[in-house]
Subunit: 188 residues, 2 copies
């Protein structure tokens, strides 16, 4: 499991990843791989050797953010009202995706097309982390039974993707998120 790796390879991996985080945050999901290579001081081939596809790079870049969100889910599980906790978490997912460009794209990839060799895809990770949070809300009757964490995340990602090019993405995303949570028709 632990692929033995040369020291310079690990060093380059880390450098590329660090540069990629900045670059993707700044330019979005289709940042130039060559630019990342140049800034990291490596050849473009080395970038592709460590991250064979753009998806792989985006997922690696997103990993720390995903971890933070997963931790947050655990924190919120079992704390306070179950519906509020779930909504708080989803709101944070939306906010993260808005502020950290590239994350939404990484989460929009098809789970089933994930590299089976490597660890879980980003979305699968998040789904597992959010499972208990959603489960509790469902048991409390705050959410319908058929709904999955994947549904909620996809919805959040969609909202982010659709508002990305707007004047004020954060405000728009938040507005739509609340609309989706409330549903189309006002509560009685």
């Amino acid at each position: 499991m632990v692929e033995r790796q040369r020291a310079d390879a690990r060093r380059n991996y880390a450098r590329i990843l660090a540069v990629a985080e900045e670059e993707v945050a700044a330019r979005g999901a289709d940042a130039s791989l060559e630019q990342i290579a140049r800034t990291a001081g490596v050849g473009s081939a080395t970038v592709r050797r460590h991250f064979p596809t753009r998806r792989a790079l985006l997922e690696a870049v997103s990993r720390t953010r995903i971890a933070a969100l997963s931790a947050r889910a655990q924190e919120l599980t079992g704390r306070g009202d179950s519906r509020d906790a779930l909504l708080e978490w989803l709101g944070e997912v939306v906010a993260y995706c808005v502020s950290a460009r590239g994350l939404a794209v990484a989460l929009s990839y098809d789970d089933s097309a994930a590299d089976p060799v490597h660890e879980n895809s980003c979305s699968r990770s998040l789904e597992e982390a959010g499972g208990p949070l959603l489960g509790r809300a469902v048991r409390d009757g705050a959410v319908a039974a058929g709904v999955t964490v994947g549904d909620l995340i996809t919805l959040a990602v969609g909202i982010v993707l659709a508002t990305e090019h707007r004047g004020d993405p954060a405000a728009e995303a938040d507005r739509l998120f609340r609309l989706a949570v409330e549903g189309l028709s006002p509560r009685a």
Copy 2:
């Protein structure tokens, strides 16, 4: 208003548009402009002369679809239950965006960044067409007052964008659309 145009220019415009429709439908919103030019039998410069930006091309390609959806909105206005009519229309918007690639991207562009010289942007067109339909639903109390057509369309577009790379986009999109309509918490 009616820009006098040479005959060959109009002919080329039509050919490019026809080719672009097929190409975008097949390859998605980032189809190759040069490929379109080649297939249409014109130079790539001619394509860019008629459609200065990719956005312009996408909006032109989407125009006929938009027109169809607008007509559909008019048909549905005043027919049947106002909530059902609105939902039927939105469902068709989603279905259209799923089946006609590129449409969702065209609708995700910022309204306010639209070319003010030319006619309305795609989204603005649709918003106007859906206005009466939504207005009736709001008056009937089926939709909260603050909601705009733009909100609903953006939500629909987001759902499509987020499910685009899934195994079965149509099914996923439909599922999420219903979830968003119903809201997170089940009805009493």
